[in-house]
Symmetry: C2
Subunit: 170 residues, 2 copies
């Protein structure tokens, strides 16, 4: 199983690093993609190596897409390659897990219409405007999509992300 984390500078450190370590614990190969191959730095100063530039990503190589929050998604939604990766996962009904500001990438990609989802409270209006069915819950699962609100939701976010990835692998 192979997971792709799409992020950029100013990511929310735990929302990237907790899934990163947890997926490795579970035996996943985990790769990080960003705007370029340059190492990215989180809001709290953690540095993360980047395996691939977004334009070099072939979504077919991955079984799971993870979108952490922080200020990274606001930058990533301006990157056509990031939006294309998200659209590809939705088109093929493959697992996508987004937390906090991560769903911003999905609203811009236009894939949330009619989908149950959650996000960081300040992103809720934007989510609704994009046609999503917003819920203020620690985790929301709808088809191929798992969303959560904030770092405190990471335990259930990981539970549902892994459940979906395992189911999808069968």
């Amino acid at each position: 199983m192979k997971a792709l984390i799409v992020s950029a500078d100013h990511f929310e450190d735990t929302e990237l690093l907790v899934p990163y370590y947890r997926l490795k614990e579970e035996g996943f190969k985990v790769e990080v993609a960003s705007v370029s191959r340059r190492r990215i730095i989180g809001k709290h100063g953690y540095e993360v190596e980047v395996d691939k530039a977004l334009r070099d990503v072939n979504p077919d190589d991955y079984d799971l897409l993870v979108l952490p929050g922080g200020k990274a998604p606001a930058a990533l939604r301006k990157e056509p390659a990031a939006l294309e990766i998200a659209k590809d996962f939705f088109r093929k009904n493959k697992p996508v897990a987004a937390i906090c500001h991560g769903p911003q990438i999905l609203t811009t990609a236009g894939v949330l219409t009619g989908r149950h989802a959650t996000c960081y409270p300040s992103v809720a209006d934007e989510l609704k405007e994009s046609g999503a069915l917003y819920e203020d819950s620690e985790v929301v699962v709808d088809g191929n999509l798992v969303t959560s609100r904030q770092p405190a939701d990471l335990p259930v976010f990981m539970q549902e992300m892994l459940r979906m990835a395992r189911k999808s692998a069968k």
Copy 2:
């Protein structure tokens, strides 16, 4: 199952937060103990609520002891209550998981004599002097003790910590 994380200001943020969230994901009740009930702040600025002052901890209430690294262990080893908690876990052969500088608490508690263990490289000499059998491995398991070196080891550290906690619970 109930886990106790013993830490203090200047903890290595991921070494506390990754086990914190992972153990919750696994269904553990997780409590944090420190010098006082005041909230503690990590090297990277994450703030963590403290459930109990060290002197109010009854080790019998917990199935697992976790000792994250950072600069916290250097302060904690001066706290007799922290050393007593560690000694109690060893006396009763209950699972103890320490990473990075975390084992410093165990060297001062005098519980590592003849035990296979690892730690952050700069702590290795001190570990050997305390009578431990130092190994430079991502994870070392010896009896009730799981140790790792650094944040990059968190995936295997969590694997072995959970394996030991499950085994111990049977």
